[in-house]
Subunit: 306 residues, 2 copies
């Protein structure tokens, strides 16, 4: 049995649902990439350190504290330790803004990066600010729009490399609730989504967003009286919700210069909808960007002087 | 132990969630009004007759079949027996359009009234058409708008006493899903709803319906960074959803002449939102109207000739 080499530091993306870590060597080489389902939603305060140790114990040196740089919901009030929000407009947080967690295990030196809040209109993010930092590392001084699709999709206006303002849309969570729990579930397909139905629905609701809750019931009704197939119904449901979101952001964000950060599947849906209403966009891989943001934070890491 | 007098006929409103019956004498006097939770959502085909018998057995004459006039989801394809839809534009269905159910128990002569479908845009109703018939019994030849708030709120355009067209909004179901299952649930109050927050949110989303999914997340964010109280959050959630619905209907329906049919609580919310955006309306009690519609159907009842 071989043991892996020890990490120079550990990057952690600790969200509501999952904990994802990378163990890195001094040159930024990835020694290990692991994840567990011990997200913030399942943990009490005292559970965080054991959940982390469980995932990284064999990667830790015995004689020195290994830096662990954390972003995400672990820094919320109900998380491991509250990392108070920074407020817009601001540059993405650096490690100087991080909160140090007193770990019981001397092998850990944990720093949690803050989220960002906006007061008008009220909004919050935790985790995405680190992806934005990663994006800006490759695009210094960027001015334009960043979209981070997900359960709670973020749209961010960047100006000269700073976060001017942002807005969160509950599109993903609303889709999931309607898909699994509403009357629509009887007529939907879970493994297939019709692209033409998606695009048509996105364009429709982009131009008539006020019809959303009627159009949602229309998905069910069309299944009953117009033989709408399940794959078409799923496509239409997704398209309707994303189209309304695009109607909103088209009023407040510059869609002429948009980069999307996320996984292939969801970013693909957003790009298709943007194309349908006349906007080009480019795609970047979210995991790569997250690690880049955490690496940027680590680059200014200094051990605590005791 | 006394037994109730026997019914001349039975009116039944059989929805997804509940079965409600009235037992009536020959002059329309109510002998009994009962309900059970054996709605269509819980029943297989073979369960309907026992569920009905359980509720009305002591009201049935032994020597003759008692007419049971049914409206609602019991007539859906997954219900007791399919009562095929009528199509708009049409007058509300009468008993001549009803489907007779072959009951095993000779004491029952069950007739299920059809629902109404609309092909463009696709939409369906089951149960509301009987309320519309009841409303028209008091308002013959009516031209104007009828709103039937509920889990799936119906807006109906009536012209000269006929149903021209209608549209269903998933507002109530969407509210319930967000209230119970979404991230918003952490900041909501279940027993209190702030009326001022409701009215402000309804007016806001009436004018900016495209912001809905962002404004929904804003309810959560305002709880985190702006101390939005739970009763205000609940009011805002309800107001946002109803405001979007009113934005839609204001484009397609005559809101200058609107009657609302439903229970006090939900009709009160709709009336408050309508007032906030500048429309007066009047309220009618849904249960009374339902019985009136079923009574109208019974007035043309004729026993089956065997």
């Amino acid at each position: 049995m071989t043991t892996p080499p020890k990490a120079a530091w550990i990057a952690a993306d600790w969200g509501t649902t999952n904990l994802r870590i990378w163990a890195l060597d001094e040159t930024g080489g990835i020694l290990a990439h692991r994840s567990s389902d011990k997200g913030m939603g399942r943990l009490e305060k005292q559970d965080y350190e054991p959940a982390l140790i469980e995932l990284v114990a064999d990667l830790l040196k015995e004689d020195v504290a290994t830096p662990v740089i954390v972003c995400g919901m672990a820094g919320s009030r109900q998380g491991w330790a509250e990392a108070p929000y920074m407020a817009t407009p601001c540059a993405p947080p650096s490690i100087r803004n991080a909160t140090r967690v007193e770990a019981a295990d001397p092998r850990l030196d944990v720093r949690i990066l803050p989220g960002i809040k906006q007061l008008t209109p009220p909004d919050v993010m935790r985790g995405e600010e680190t992806q934005i930092a990663g994006f800006l590392a490759d695009n210094p001084g960027y001015t334009g729009t960043l979209c981070l699709p997900g359960t709670h999709t973020k749209w961010v206006a960047l100006k000269d490399g700073r976060i001017e303002r942002f807005r969160t849309f509950m599109t993903g969570e609303t889709f999931a609730l309607l898909f699994s729990h509403s009357v629509l579930r009887h007529g939907l397909s879970s493994d297939d989504l019709d692209n033409a139905a998606f695009a048509a629905a996105a364009e429709h609701s982009f131009h008539a967003p006020e019809m959303l809750t009627a159009d949602l019931f229309g998905v069910r009704a069309a299944g009953l009286v117009a033989d709408l197939a399940p794959a078409q119904a799923s496509g239409r449901l997704s398209g309707l919700l994303i189209g309304v979101e695009l109607a909103a952001v088209s009023r407040d964000f510059d869609l002429g210069n948009t980069a999307l950060l996320g996984s292939d599947k969801i970013v693909g849906a957003y790009r298709a909808a943007l194309t349908q209403v006349g906007y080009a966009s480019r795609q970047l891989d979210a995991q790569t960007i997250t690690l880049k943001g955490l690496t940027l934070a680590y680059s200014s890491y200094e051990p605590e002087h005791s």
